[in-house]
């Protein structure tokens, strides 16, 4: 097990800068997620940690020891790939044994370890099959097993769930989290799915354009997004964003408006409100603003509403027992203490 520390990591492919100024410490035994849209550099960062690519600048430390100059096999990390990367010409058993055989472990030990992992992942019945004869979920488990079998310093997982169908993905997600608790190993997980990142991670880093936008515990990031990008990227349905013009200014109390104006560094301020922080009431009252319901989507446990307010469209999540019809006029309120304010130009959080 290891603590992984990245210091001022840079990566360029030719003239394109893929990663810049990455500083990150991933604690021993932590399940850490790198999350971001495609092309943000998260997979490259994982490859750097694995040793499949060399950083253009900066240094990587495992337990305080620099490893940037080491080949993948010397770093003792295991990786689960998006395509699983099972060796098609080997049976499940040979696939699981491969990392141990490469480390020249005695045959009886290999046998024992392979059987232990197969048992743990429910692969005992398919040991003689080739990967092409397995279902998607089974292949996924073989890939996991091949990583687990040799007890590496760290596990690197590159979108391991994205090839599974929706139902299986949620099951495997939970299984993965249990597995992490059981092994207590350092896991670095890459995904573009913010829901996966939220549910799995101890901590996560949100990446965009090769830079870390924010790093912290999932709920911390959810409740205090550091900038507009993070606010938009984390949370489903996504956060409501309003340009705080004349119309928007009416939404805030005098005290809050002053605070916002004092913190603003440019003319434009953007107000963000999570869909669940909007309260929708049918009674026409003075407090709040009036909006028209344009769409009602009952989810069962809750109901999603699309609201039209002047030019703006808003998303609200309300309790399932709120019965409103499309086309109805409602009053919308929100707690301004739960609202987020961002600079319109830089996108940075104001306070």
């Amino acid at each position: 097990m290891a603590e992984v520390r990245l210091e001022r990591i840079e990566k360029r492919f030719g003239a394109t800068e893929v990663l810049s100024g990455i500083d990150l410490t991933i604690g021993d035994g932590e399940l850490f997620t790198l999350v971001g849209p495609s092309g943000c550099g998260k997979s490259t960062l994982l490859h750097l940690i694995a040793g499949l690519e060399e950083p253009s600048g900066g240094e990587i430390y495992f337990n305080g020891k620099p490893v940037s100059h080491l080949a993948p096999k010397e770093r003792d990390v295991a990786m689960v790939f998006q395509s699983y990367a099972l060796y098609p010409h080997m049976s499940v058993c040979e696939n699981l044994a491969f990392p141990l055989r490469m480390r020249k472990q005695p045959p009886e030990e290999i046998d024992r370890e392979v059987r232990r992992v197969a048992e743990m992942l429910g692969l005992a019945e398919v040991m003689a099959r080739k990967p092409s004869e397995l279902s998607g979920g089974q292949r996924q488990r073989v890939a996991l097993g091949r990583a687990i079998v040799r007890r590496p310093k760290a596990f690197l997982l590159d979108e391991p769930l994205s090839n599974l169908d929706a139902q299986l993905r949620i099951e495997t997600r939970a299984e993965l989290k249990r597995l992490h608790q059981r092994l207590g190993a350092t896991m670095i997980y890459v995904t573009h799915d913010q829901a996966e990142a939220m549910t799995l991670s101890d901590r996560m880093a949100v990446l965009q354009h090769g830079k870390i936008q924010q790093c912290g515990a999932p709920l911390e990031i959810y409740h205090r997004p550091a900038n507009l990008f993070v606010a938009r990227f984390i949370g489903s349905p996504p956060i409501n964003l309003l340009t705080l013009g004349e119309m928007g200014a009416n939404l805030l109390s005098g005290g809050m408006l002053k605070q916002v104006q004092a913190a603003a560094r440019s003319d434009q301020v953007i107000l963000g409100v999570r869909p669940e922080d909007l309260q929708v009431v049918r009674a026409m009252r003075a407090a709040g603003f009036e909006a028209r319901v344009s769409l009602v989507e009952p989810m069962g446990s809750e109901t999603w509403l699309d609201l039209v307010w002047g030019e703006e469209r808003l998303r609200a999540r309300v309790a399932a027992d709120v019965t409103v019809q499309a086309g109805e006029q409602v009053t919308v309120r929100f707690d301004e203490q739960k609202a987020h304010f961002f600079d319109g130009e830089t996108g940075a959080r104001l306070f």
Binding site: S83, P88, P99, S132
Partner: protein, 275 residues
């Protein structure tokens, strides 16, 4: 109904015509090789009236034909082995390792294979003579390998590229050196490519005539195409023996292709590369 019948009979006709075009000369050789001397230069009969195996006996008794076939076999097998050995390592580097000038290297390799052999046969002869390799197997092995390598390189590079990059990376993380990953993962998965390259190189070397004619002088190293070409004497062309010899030397090639073809098909139908 009638349409389907017409399409079908048209197809059958086309197939039959193609087969006749390809197999016709071979069949004619077979017919010729079985005809006794007096029937050879006469038409009719088309088919031999008194079929005989004397020509087959003659090629093995009158000439060192066994030795010539052995020469050919050793030259072609060594060429194939060397081409695949060197070619697969080079192709692995071109397909998977990062270094500059890959495209140029492949381009140059292709350009070299385009050289008309006749244009470089004389300088090559001087080189071979200077190395003291004249009339040895090595003279042919070296030249054949040089000419077969570019082709091998192109075939294998494309096959190695088709093996998903994640497999190669997974092997490295599982504890392989780059060369280990090549040997344990890439090579087994590129077996169809190896088989295809092996067939092509072997046939090329087996059939090659110009270098074989130039660099060999005795049956110590003479190969089949040259051996057969030297059958005709000053005053007569032994058509029967030529036909028999041609058929005899075609058999190993056919066996080879059939054997490797099974491997190729096996490799393709395993189809496990895609997840």
């Amino acid at each position: 109904m009638i349409r389907a019948f017409l399409t079908r009979s048209g197809l059958v006709f086309l197939l039959a015509a193609t087969a006749l075009f390809c197999l016709g000369p071979v069949l004619w050789q077979l017919v010729t090789s079985l005809k006794p001397e007096p029937e050879l230069t006469r038409l009719p009969p088309i088919l031999p009236v008194h079929p005989t195996l004397t020509h087959y006996a003659a090629i093995f008794s009158g000439h060192p034909f066994f030795r010539i076939i052995l020469n050919s076999f050793i030259v072609a097998a060594t060429t194939t082995g060397l081409s695949l050995g060197i070619g697969s390592l080079a192709a692995f580097a071109l397909a998977r390792l990062g270094f500059g000038g890959k495209r140029i290297l492949l381009g140059v390799a292709l350009a070299i294979s385009m050289f008309p052999p006749i244009s470089i046969v004389s300088p090559l002869y001087l080189v071979i003579r200077a190395l003291g390799l004249r009339d040895t197997w090595w003279a042919l092995v070296v030249t054949h390998t040089t000419f077969a390598l570019p082709l091998t390189l192109w075939i294998l590079t494309s096959f190695f590229r088709e093996v998903p990059g994640e497999l190669y990376r997974a092997a490295q993380l599982d504890g392989c050196t780059p060369l280990g990953a090549f040997r344990r993962v890439l090579l087994p998965l590129a077996t169809p490519g190896l088989a295809a390259a092996a067939i092509l190189v072997f046939i090329f070397s087996w059939n090659e005539f110009l270098f074989a004619l130039t660099f060999t002088t005795t049956e110590a190293s003479r190969t089949v195409p040259v051996g057969i070409a030297l059958f005709p004497g000053l005053h007569e062309v032994p058509y029967g023996e030529l036909a028999a010899a041609s058929l005899v030397v075609t058999v190993p090639i056919i066996l080879l292709v059939l054997f490797f073809q099974r491997r190729i098909v096996e490799g393709l139908t395993a189809g496990a590369v895609k997840g």
